[in-house]
């Protein structure tokens, strides 16, 4: 049985952490698939096969991005770091260092208690008792 996404005993993990782990595993699988298609496409010479594989790789791009967005929504500090790095022109490493500093210092999302936007992170309360 494939329960390898759990590093700790699953029965001891809260449901939200198990969901998080599943999506992390899915993200990894999509990234692997993208890499495999990239290698196959690099070697394939049949144009029709190439078109099929490029289309399939596009699906993996979508799946990877959806997994990532889910995980970022559930993890404000990760989202804030990603916000400072993704889709930014310029030096990637520099952006990474800056995003890390902004997130984990001075009341950023990674500092205790605060969310990415400095809010209380209340959001929807559907399912809350009373």
């Amino acid at each position: 049985m494939g329960f390898d996404q759990y590093h700790e005993p699953p029965e001891e993990l809260p449901p939200a952490t198990r969901t998080f782990a599943r999506l992390c595993a899915s993200l990894t699988e999509e990234a692997e698939a993208i890499g495999w298609y990239e290698q196959r496409i690099a070697l394939e010479t049949d144009p029709e096969a190439l078109a099929v594989m490029r289309d399939a790789q596009g699906e993996e791009f979508k799946h990877f991005s959806m997994d990532l967005e889910f995980l970022l929504r559930r993890t404000p500090p990760w989202r804030e770091v990603a916000h400072g790095i993704l889709f930014q022109p310029g030096d990637i490493v520099e952006h990474g260092e800056e995003a890390e500093a902004e997130t984990f210092e001075d009341g950023g999302a990674g500092s205790e208690g605060a969310f990415e936007d400095g809010s209380l992170g209340l959001g929807s309360l559907r399912g809350a008792s009373r």
Binding site: D106, G107, S111, E112, G113, A114, F115, D117, G118, S119, L120, G121, L122, G123, S124, L125, R126, G127, A128, S129, R130
Partner: protein, 265 residues
């Protein structure tokens, strides 16, 4: 740093944690609308309006042979409740005191929650059309607490007749919630449980709501769109107090007016 200017406040990281946690604890039980309507966002402080997908005609065109339309949007509203805390109390919190006086924060949190509930369920001038006011159904009379099952069941039936599927939720104003909670029907059966069975959904304490409102929980009928979700910001300080505020921005729209029935006290 964003517009909340939190890092300008003379408050330690630990102090901010205490304040944020206290605010969450006070707000969450009272924010009734968020337990019953769809929540979208948050989209950020810069977010100013919700797209309605509708247009208004513009008289004439800027040039001959050209007509024009203007997009209609729903602007977000801002709620803000100011409060001030003793710096001495915050210093004690840093020392580990667990009985810090945060009464002003608690009061502001309740005021904001009430304001949000009132805006969603009863509206706010021209800015927001509330659920109860938008409903085309004639309001029902609640009557005495032990008779609540009848109007609630009638409200559910009206929704069913309008093609609005369940489950349903019930927002109860403070007085009515207390009456329901303390009432047992003949045979000792708790009224709260009876109402839950009729609704097949939650009963929510909704301070600020007049009477009660039965709403469909199927989704897509009522949309709360958050700009900046509830946050504590910094305003100013002197040697004795720090002035803070609770703030949020949001829009609210009723997509299906017939998906709710108001119950009047």
């Amino acid at each position: 740093m964003n517009h909340l200017l939190r890092s300008h406040a003379p408050i330690s990281d630990g102090g901010w944690s205490v304040l944020d946690e206290e605010a969450r604890e006070r707000l969450a039980p009272a924010l009734a609308a968020r337990k019953l309507v769809d929540f979208s966002g948050p989209r950020g402080w810069e977010y100013s309006a919700t797209n309605l997908g509708r247009v208004s005609p513009l008289p004439g065109g800027p040039a001959e042979g050209v007509s024009g339309l203007q997009r209609r949007v729903l602007p977000v509203v801002e709620l803000r409740a100011d409060f001030e805390l003793s710096r001495s109390e915050l210093r004690d919190a840093d020392r580990g005191a667990d009985d810090v006086d945060l009464e002003a924060l608690d009061k502001a949190a309740h005021q904001v929650a009430v304001a949000e509930n009132v805006a969603v369920f009863h509206g706010w001038g021209d800015a927001i059309a509330g659920i109860a006011e938008a409903s085309p159904h004639e309001p029902l009379h609640l009557g005495e607490a032990d008779a609540y099952p009848r109007p609630v069941a009638r409200a559910v039936e009206r929704l069913l007749c309008s093609g609005v599927a369940g489950a349903y939720g019930l927002a109860l104003g403070s007085d009515d919630y207390r009456r329901v909670a303390e009432t047992a029907e003949h045979g000792g059966y708790p009224l709260l449980d009876h109402l839950r069975k009729i609704l097949e959904g939650p009963i929510v304490w909704a301070p600020g709501v007049e009477g009660a409102v039965v709403v469909s929980l199927r989704g897509g009928d009522f949309v709360f769109e958050s700009g900046q979700d509830l946050s504590i910001g910094y305003d100013s300080h002197d040697s004795d107090v720090v002035r803070l505020y609770l703030e949020e921005s949001f829009s609210f729209r009723v997509a299906t007016p017939e998906a709710a029935v108001a119950l009047r006290p």
